[in-house]
Symmetry: C2
Subunit: 742 residues, 2 copies
Amino acid sequence: MKKNISGEFVKSARHRTIAFILLFSLMLSSVVYGQVERPRLLVSAADVRAIREDLGKYPWFDKVYGEAKDAVDRACANPVDVPKPVDAGGYTHEKHKQNYREMQAAGILFQVTKDERYARFIRDMLLQYAALYPTLGKHPMAASAEYGRLFWQTLNETVWMVHVAQAYDCVYDWLTPADRETIEGKLLRPMIKFFTVEHAATVDRIHNHGTWMVAAVGMLGYALNDKNLVDMALYGTKKDGKAGFLRQMELLFSPDGYYTEGAYYVRYAIQPFIIFAQAIEHNQPELRIFEFRNQILRKAVAAELQLVDGNGRFIPINDALKEMSVLSPETVLALDVAYLRYGDGGGWLAIAQKQGKVSMDAAGLAVARALQNQSKQPVFMFKSVEYTDGPLGDEGGIGILRSGAPGDQSMLVMKYGAQGFGHGHFDKLEFLYYDRGREIVQDYGAVRFINIEPKFGGRYLPETETWSKQTIAHNTVTVDGQSHYGGVYRVAQKSHADRHFFSALDPNLQVMSGKAQGVYPGVSMQRTMAMIRDSAFAGPIVLDLFRLDSKQKHQYDLPLYYMGQFIHTNIPYKAYDTEQTRLGPANGYQHLWKEAEGKAAGSLAFTWLQGDRYYSMISATDTFTSVFFTRIGAGDPDFNLRSEPGIMMRRNAASTVFATALEPHGYFEPVNEISLNATGRIKELKVLVSDAEATVVEINGTGSLHWIFAIVNGEASTDATHSVAARGKTFSWKGNYYLWKN
Amino acid sequence: MKKNISGEFVKSARHRTIAFILLFSLMLSSVVYGQVERPRLLVSAADVRAIREDLGKYPWFDKVYGEAKDAVDRACANPVDVPKPVDAGGYTHEKHKQNYREMQAAGILFQVTKDERYARFIRDMLLQYAALYPTLGKHPMAASAEYGRLFWQTLNETVWMVHVAQAYDCVYDWLTPADRETIEGKLLRPMIKFFTVEHAATVDRIHNHGTWMVAAVGMLGYALNDKNLVDMALYGTKKDGKAGFLRQMELLFSPDGYYTEGAYYVRYAIQPFIIFAQAIEHNQPELRIFEFRNQILRKAVAAELQLVDGNGRFIPINDALKEMSVLSPETVLALDVAYLRYGDGGGWLAIAQKQGKVSMDAAGLAVARALQNQSKQPVFMFKSVEYTDGPLGDEGGIGILRSGAPGDQSMLVMKYGAQGFGHGHFDKLEFLYYDRGREIVQDYGAVRFINIEPKFGGRYLPETETWSKQTIAHNTVTVDGQSHYGGVYRVAQKSHADRHFFSALDPNLQVMSGKAQGVYPGVSMQRTMAMIRDSAFAGPIVLDLFRLDSKQKHQYDLPLYYMGQFIHTNIPYKAYDTEQTRLGPANGYQHLWKEAEGKAAGSLAFTWLQGDRYYSMISATDTFTSVFFTRIGAGDPDFNLRSEPGIMMRRNAASTVFATALEPHGYFEPVNEISLNATGRIKELKVLVSDAEATVVEINGTGSLHWIFAIVNGEASTDATHSVAARGKTFSWKGNYYLWKN
């Protein structure tokens, strides 16, 4: 993405929009924003009146309001504590976080109730901060250039300001001029100067830390009626539109709303977008910020809500933590504001209902009202969808195929986009597979125990770098034991995979295909995944064709990190069950125990049990293939990793296709002691042909099941016709793929 | 238990009861049972009338009735299939099981509806069986002396008969004499002869297979109005009362109703007790079978329902499968009949409600009626309770301590009873610990994938013997690397541990203590576990004092199979993270990977995370102690074991005490990213003294926490006073234990 801020992107059509807005805005530079009533940030004066009027009408809103009131009332009854900052995750850190949350809520409560206790609470606390702040130098735990004063990193400090600007705005008119002078002169302006001067680079950074920064600067700008600050926030410190909030809205999302770091990160990153957009809308409605870039904020929220498993947990690509879900407080706010501004995006109220709470603002009130008035149970609309990656949408993307009703739904995710900054993984063309809300084939996510102090203070653990970022930790091919792009971030960040085609029009035959060039010198990669629903099977079948093309011979390793209990395999193997060594010395291999090793000559079959269903992989191994059973957890002296299994195929070849089917089958119910169809139906896969034009595979199973599946390897086109000869037959079709059933 | 049937037990008071009943029954030998109306087994004629009358009134009953009717209607519409038996778990096995279930249900439906379709269904099927049965020899898959003809083992065949006797009874009056002659002459009497002659030893066996057998013989006896069969069933083949159903009711349960094989097995074994008791009550009410042995059947059901975790899953001691729970169909029947005969035993309706179904008989009707009419939500009464083991209650027992409301309840289980037959484990004085419905310290259970055909046909796997039965697989002490009693079943079955004391009167200080002699020559073992609730802690603290006393030096290994994620330990250790070997060569050690090894000199502290809580063990290691971090899964070429962690302390000593505290603490909530108190409060345990009279330990923690806990090692008495000197102080108390808090 850095390539974009350094200039090449200036020519894009999108950027002309900012230029226009900028011009418009500078022309209106004499407008004094201060003529609008207060409060004027996340919550407007009109919002306050609506809240006051609607209290007691909507239980969903009353609940959050009551909880906030209880919490703030408790805080008001206790002495203010503004401790000298000493730690990066201990008492003082948490106390300063608690303080800003309580001040923000107290501000709204003061506006709604006019109870001066709340205003005094904010004033007293801000005066204490105003006494403390001038005494602070660099935070004692500061570890990087992004150091703060109140907090160990600027990020937390900007979040503090985003909240405090709101609280200050709410009591601004109530404060005496003397108090205002103290608070602004000793605290708010020095801090904002610290941001815009010492951390000017962060203000201009196209990154979620940058978004928090511009939100902090801009929110305070509106609160202080300071156009200079607002313009810096919107257009960058140089006010030329090459940085700042609008530029971030252009560069951090693809045209579809996909955030390049993935769903786990957009959950966090979307907050300052949403909060600051609300403030902009309240102060500069003429900017039509919620319409900006074809409603990019709506698209961003919609994409976030789709990038989840059946339980609403975010797809754990990149450095994600698996438990994080749409129930998070960040998503509550994002969903509510999106609902307020754009209406229901497809069963969003179903998620709001599961969240069990709304935000304490006009957006939360709107959702509470809608939940109250809805006549039928809302259902979230999970869908098959492709999101492009990159600001122009030309850096590949991510594809999601879904099949079945919620609760009995299969989901297949394939990643063929950009690296996604520093939290990105070297995982081009990897896939994840879910069924019935369970992980069946997993991405490990990050190695981190968030906020768990004994685990390295809750920070990312070293194994995030050495294991979970590495290619071998993913369900994709590692060539010659090296991670993608040599495992070098700088190279990976400049590169991306490409979409080949994506089609989810036919619910019985959904297919997506991605390509990756330059991941390894001289090796082309293409992966095509299909989700096929057929009455011959209890659930949708997944077909996976991973084609590697090279002039030289390489070692191709393709692991499958299945979740569940090993049930059966058809290959002979040697178990290393008295002594165990690692699969390799580096690039993630050092974290895999080699539990067993076998050879497959015909089709490899492997069955495992997860939840109430069996799953089988059947893979063509007409070329000689080694098979390894692995377990995560080697090279982990601090016990940071989860002990989880995998199966890996290894093939030494120049060009080859890993052709695999995944079949869900049977039923297991231990309380009634029922086990049905523990053996699947598919018995064999064969690659009939794979060349520059197409790949054709044969799938055979019991009951005379005989399918032929063909996909195009050359240029994608839904209109082109193809004709391929293989084993004495000719297969002809039109479009990017075709499935023949016997 | 065998010692009992071989004669020593004849002198017991209990046996006089049987002798009396026997005398009474033989005196009344001229009574013809046949004068009661049919049906007369599980369901009586009066029951049928009640069901007919109440249909449509109680949705809980209507549901099971409707489901049974749908299933049998489908069966009636299809051709009868009575296949030649060929397999031990495949189609023919399952088909014969399905047939008896459908016949039994059809019998009741015929009685209720008088629809002759159901009678014809039973007749046609029985005639096919009558044609098949005489052609059968020993089942082709027969593997032991307990072979059957229709099934590979007699067990299934007796279950078949228990159901078919009911069906036959229901259509008896409807059948023509000629059909009756065919069915009885070719099928029922030959089969019962096969049972009572070729398998006479099983009829007289004190074992759950014996109970199914006598139920089969007795039920058919009532159906055929054959007093000879009924008497054999009740009093053994010799009709002397030394075997048979009543004797089984005496010998298979302790006076408290504890079934010596444990909860998982009583679930299965209770069925023939319950079913046959209903038949006896309907035919010989004068035996007052439900009053027998002070209502032993009530006690057995009550104990079964208490021997569960917070989710109703049976405590997985012995060869148990962990998922099995009170929701099982066997428990539905047991609970319903117990409810019918004894009324509510303490929130039983809450379990019935969770089961979501009732049995299709008068018992189910009674529960359905009660569920319909209850005015408030029933709550099952979990309690702290001790059950003695052995028919006289003098073979030790099992203790359960519970603390807290359901949902936030801790449970501690200690096993100090008998071996429990062939499915018993060598696990004297082991413990299990649950919190908030989760396993915190586990018993592995059996190694078996029930009914999963590719896993050895769903049978017990070899690792049940080599791993899960062995002592090292349990949270108790293994001495010199050998399992208890040398791992010899014959020796273990003759032995048992002993209760020392058990007190759950004070909910804030519950203590249980067991002893075991002769488990290892020359080594005495005593374990005392306390559950202490104190406002200093978020949840109850567990104290565990495991005393070993010997003249010779031994190697004492005490593992803890914690469930969850390793968070922190205070000891230095070496991780075997590039190469891993097994902990030992045999006796279960061959299944443990040695992941790391350390030394503890002060107190060992180890913290893990399970669910939303942290747990810490803190153990006194004032004697030099080796610590091993282990993982289950070595020596397992077929991947039958679950990969789960453990921590093990090893000490070489003659006499020693492992003094350990388990502290639940803190809170983890990943969606809101909250982690509180990941470090516990207890910092140190010290054994102040441990001698023939008493053990005194000191517990120290943050915030000046300073506790002294004393327990009596000599004879238990609540009245005796004790005075022990340790480290210059004298500790005096009355009773079996005492806790001083600073």
